[in-house]
């Protein structure tokens, strides 16, 4: 599709239409219905579900679908955000606005022990993610006695995710055993658990990155402005453009923050998330840009740079 697409400046979100005919469903309508079905199964089967809200575009779609699933009621479970203390400021603002807009209960959890011990992305390298994300998530799930944690992971993101079930079984230590997953047939999800075991639920399993953006466009779903290009202060570091979001980022000798027109393709902790130079400042422009891109979206996250097996290992340990 390279070079087949002419730039377009104005494009209005289009709604409706695809729901008009009951006979034929487009792929987006099918994906939407599948996700809604999954949400309702979770609400019906579990005692203490919660939605792991990561603030990114996938989470935005997740919330939008949850709202649809329970309409006219409100979303019947709390949103959990694991705050490492190093998220972009705009993410935190967006998070709080979103919870208010949807009238949803928001739980924010930080690994206080890790914070007190001075764990930062700069001092602890890969262990930072273990402590401030993986550990923190386990702490929170245990603390709230959660038996089902809903997340926005998609199978097209990465190879070990491509193997994961929609209802993904975790033992009491939150471990995923990829060699011994429960069979999962039709849409008959097995929600039965022994005490202490839990399920991670992925309603967006079958969505692709293009689906997500097309749906955001079609449904006019709000996303964090960091996805849109604008001049932001960045430094070049290990091949990534790191945004200087506050004054806690230690600058290496010779590093000078400079303004560049950048946007983010995926969001995480600002010192670990690479920006890309871009002019895409609207959803259509992002889609257009994506159609020309030649790298996959996870590349902008420092966490995977090491090995292909990195994500699988994290998941076995209980990382989302």
């Amino acid at each position: 599709m390279h070079a087949l697409i002419q730039p377009v400046t104005t494009l209005k979100p289009v709604s409706g239409g695809r729901r008009a005919s009951a006979a034929k469903m487009t792929h987006l309508a099918r994906l939407e219905a599948e996700s809604i079905h999954i949400f309702r199964e979770v609400a019906a089967e579990f005692a203490k579900p919660l939605l792991m809200y990561s603030i990114g575009k996938d989470s935005s779609v997740l919330l939008h679908l949850a709202r649809k699933a329970f309409f006219p009621g409100r979303i019947p479970f709390p949103l959990l955000h694991i705050d490492t203390g190093w998220k972009f400021k705009e993410m935190i603002t967006f998070r709080d606005e979103t919870a208010k807009r949807l009238n949803a209960q928001l739980i924010v959890h930080t690994n206080e022990a890790g914070k007190a011990a001075g764990v930062t992305p700069f001092t602890h390298g890969a262990r930072y993610t273990d402590i401030m994300k993986t550990e923190a998530l386990k702490q929170a799930l245990d603390k709230y006695g959660c038996d089902a944690a809903i997340g926005g992971a998609r199978r097209d993101e990465e190879k070990s995710r491509a193997k994961e079930r929609v209802f993904s079984f975790r033992d009491a230590q939150h471990r995923w055993d990829p060699k011994n997953q429960r069979p999962e047939l039709w849409n008959l999800y097995n929600g039965r658990l022994r005490r202490g075991d839990s399920i991670r639920v992925f309603p967006l399993s079958n969505w692709t990155e293009v689906d997500i953006w097309t749906y955001i466009h079609t449904e006019n779903i709000p996303v964090v402005p960091l996805y849109f290009a604008k001049p932001r202060p960045v430094v070049d570091r290990d091949g990534l453009k790191i945004m200087v979001d506050d004054d806690r980022l230690p600058l290496n000798p010779g590093e000078k923050p400079h303004l560049e027109n950048v946007r983010f393709r995926s969001l995480g902790c600002y010192p670990l998330t690479g920006a890309q130079v871009s002019t895409a400042d609207s959803v259509p422009a992002i889609i257009e840009e994506m159609l020309r891109t030649t790298t996959s979206e996870r590349q902008s996250r420092a966490i995977d740079a090491d090995s292909a097996a990195a994500m699988e290992n994290r998941k076995r340990e209980g990382y989302f």
Binding site: H2, R30, K68, P72, K163, H217
Partner: protein
């Protein structure tokens, strides 16, 4: 999707690629979805084929391609050529062992259609994962290696695909390069496969010669098979039609399983769910099953506004006119088009548990949004995938296929799976570890000969010893102790029974105390009386075995002929345990002072003194209780019972 134009794709698509973003988005909103699986034997080239499809439809990103180039050097099997299979084999164990364990889902699209590919593992031991992938598929691409031809796994997978109601099957005869693109060999394989698939009742079969490694006839045609005039694999996948029909499999009648009762406030009560088949309109009369309450549709609510009418696969919330009390698991239907309401029905079953399926054992069944407890009443026959013959079976092992009769504790609304996947399918859940241990497809539930009415309370067709025993998770047996007076029979028998009960088994101990005073009160100690005594104990044991119990007996039973008669009566669940403690030791113990009396002539015909004891010639166990502790003896017997499969071990579960 982003694109690496590695080489220009030959455009054979009648549908144009979008030229503008507007066109692209318009297309995104219009195109439909095809879900298919790739399956077949290990190493037939599934992963390579998917890698090739992704690559040639230009869905592969630069960083992914360079990662594959990296990995190829480490794990690859293709030498210098990048191993495209590594685009899909995701788990470490898979790459290390060079095999596929679980289904991997891949996504790609062409201007015509979105595709979800489920790449299924080829090994027989991972059949349950293959079935997972196939259960949601619209079509199946079955691979064979052109050099090896149709194999057991080819048949097994095709069979499962047909059982799961996938009507479109494409056979990709792969590695054509290895047989020099030989037309005759290709046609021989095609002929064999088509014959097999037809027998299974597969509706649409297409056979395509391909070479995944080089890409021949996958996306692009190539010059290697000039004799082949049919479609490439991608063309075939793009052309498959009638999927919406296939997906709801023809049932036009309304089935709306209620997932959730929505009660956000006192003014609203709605029933949320996904329409499984047919459609529903405002104003229509609907009936809820199994409760048989009826009402009219007042409103069909969605977050995007109310609908007048909603159809299959749509997720909606239905509001009724009347305040009737429905709950999750009820199914809304039109009163004139009801599904069968049944407690018992026949089904095809794929067994997925590590422990075998045992008729009579209680499981939980999930059907639609309903959980019901029940059991597999009987296995009518198991199916041999090789030649499709059927044979009798008492149990069904991991990956086994069988036709069974299901008996549930409450009636459920079901349809023939062939007509409706959503209301004709169920999974079976183990009640101890809660893993999914089976998947079933309902067979014509309203057919004659099946007790389909909910008014008939379930009666097992025939309660067998096996059914009773399966309920207790044990295999019935008689542990028959024999040995001199004082050899330790009662002591060991009691200790054994305690150990069994502790492990949750159901046993019964027969000894002098509970037999002599009642059942055998009329018998004396004459030779005839003794023989009759043992005969009756044997008969009672046989009845208890039939009741599913583990029977323990503790009698001297000195004569071989008496014991052998009982062995013949009971069969190989008769376990003779000879306590070989010597006469000297027994006399030394003499707990009841009987030996003293016998030696003094006060008791006549006392075994070992003035009446013979005939030791067994081939006892299952022979133990001298003067040589080891009671606990050790009990352990030895328990171990024997375990090894012989009398005590079912706990299923490790999933």
């Amino acid at each position: 999707m982003a694109a690496v134009p590695v080489k220009p794709a030959a455009s054979q698509n009648p549908v144009e690629s979008p030229r503008t973003l507007e066109q692209f988005l318009a297309q995104q909103r219009e195109i439909d979805l095809l879900r298919f699986i790739t399956c077949g034997s290990v190493d037939d080239g599934k992963s390579t084929l998917i890698g090739r499809l992704l690559h040639d439809t230009r869905q592969v990103f630069d960083d992914q391609l360079s990662a594959v180039a990296n990995d190829s050097r480490r794990w690859g099997t293709t030498g210098e050529v990048p191993d495209l299979a590594l685009l899909v084999d995701g788990l470490q164990a898979e790459r290390e062992q060079g095999i596929t364990i679980d289904v991997a889902y891949r996504y790609f699209q062409t201007p015509r259609r979105k595709f979800i590919v489920a790449d299924c593992p080829g090994h027989e031991q991972y059949t349950r994962n293959m079935a997972t992938g196939a259960s949601t598929a619209d079509a199946a691409v079955v691979l064979v290696d052109a050099e090896k031809g149709v194999r057991v796994q080819t048949r097994r997978h095709t069979h499962i695909v047909s059982l799961l109601g996938v009507h479109n099957v494409i056979l990709a005869v792969n590695k054509m390069d290895r047989i020099g693109y030989d037309k005759a060999k290709f046609e021989a394989i095609a002929g064999e496969f088509v014959a097999y698939a037809r027998k299974l009742g597969v509706q649409n079969i297409e056979v395509i010669p391909v070479a995944a490694l080089t890409g021949v006839n996958v996306v692009n045609r190539g010059a290697a098979t000039p004799w082949y005039t049919g479609r490439t694999l991608l063309e075939a996948l793009e052309a498959l039609e009638g999927l919406e029909v296939a997906r709801t499999d023809g049932l036009k009648e309304l089935r709306f399983p209620i997932q959730l009762v929505s009660r956000p406030d006192a003014n609203f009560r709605g029933y949320a769910g996904t329409i499984a088949s047919g459609d529903i309109s405002v104003g229509e009369e609907v009936l809820a099953l199994p409760s048989r309450k009826s009402s009219k549709v007042r409103e069909i609510t969605t977050a995007d506004g109310p609908l007048e009418r909603a159809g299959a696969l749509q997720a909606v919330t239905v509001v009724l006119e009347d305040e009737i009390d429905l709950s999750r698991g009820d199914v809304l239907v039109h009163p004139d088009h009801r599904p069968t309401l049944a407690r018992t029905f026949d089904a095809n079953l794929i067994w997925m548990g590590e422990a075998p399926l045992l008729p009579g054992k209680r499981y939980e069944f999930k059907i639609g949004s309903r959980y019901v407890k029940g059991l597999v009443d009987s296995i009518q026959h198991r199916i041999d995938v090789n030649d499709l013959t059927t044979r009798e079976a008492e149990a069904l092992d991991l990956n086994g296929l069988a036709r069974v009769r299901i008996a549930l504790e409450e009636p459920v609304a079901v349809d023939d799976y062939k007509l409706s996947r959503a209301t004709g399918s169920f999974i079976i859940i183990d009640l101890l570890h809660f893993g999914t241990v089976g998947a079933g497809m309902v067979i014509a539930p309203n057919a004659a000969g099946q007790r389909a009415s909910s008014d008939v309370v379930w009666q097992p067709t025939r309660v067998t010893a096996a059914i009773r025993a399966n309920q207790k998770s044990q295999k019935p047996a008689v542990v028959w102790f024999t040995g001199l007076s004082g050899s330790g029979k009662s002591t060991i028998a009691n200790a054994l029974e305690q150990a069994l009960v502790q492990r949750g088994h159901h046993s019964y101990l027969l000894d002098g105390d509970n037999v002599r005073h009642g059942l055998n009160k009329d018998l004396d100690f004459s030779e005839g009386g003794r023989a009759e005594n043992i005969r009756r104990i044997g008969e009672v044991s046989a009845l208890f075995v039939d009741a599913g119990l583990i029977v323990i007996t503790a009698f001297i039973s000195p004569f071989r002929v008496d014991r052998n008669r009982i062995r013949e009566r009971i069969g190989d669940t008769f376990i003779e345990v000879y306590l070989s403690t010597s006469l000297e030791e027994c006399e030394r113990r003499d707990p009841k002072g009987l030996y003293v009396k016998a030696r003094a002539g006060e008791i006549r015909e006392f075994t070992g003194i003035d009446s013979p004891y005939e030791p067994p010639l081939a006892p299952q166990l022979s133990i001298d209780t003067s040589k080891q502790e009671i606990g050790a003896t009990v352990d030895q017997i328990l171990r024997y019972l375990e090894n012989k499969g009398f005590l079912h071990q706990a299923d490790p579960g999933l």
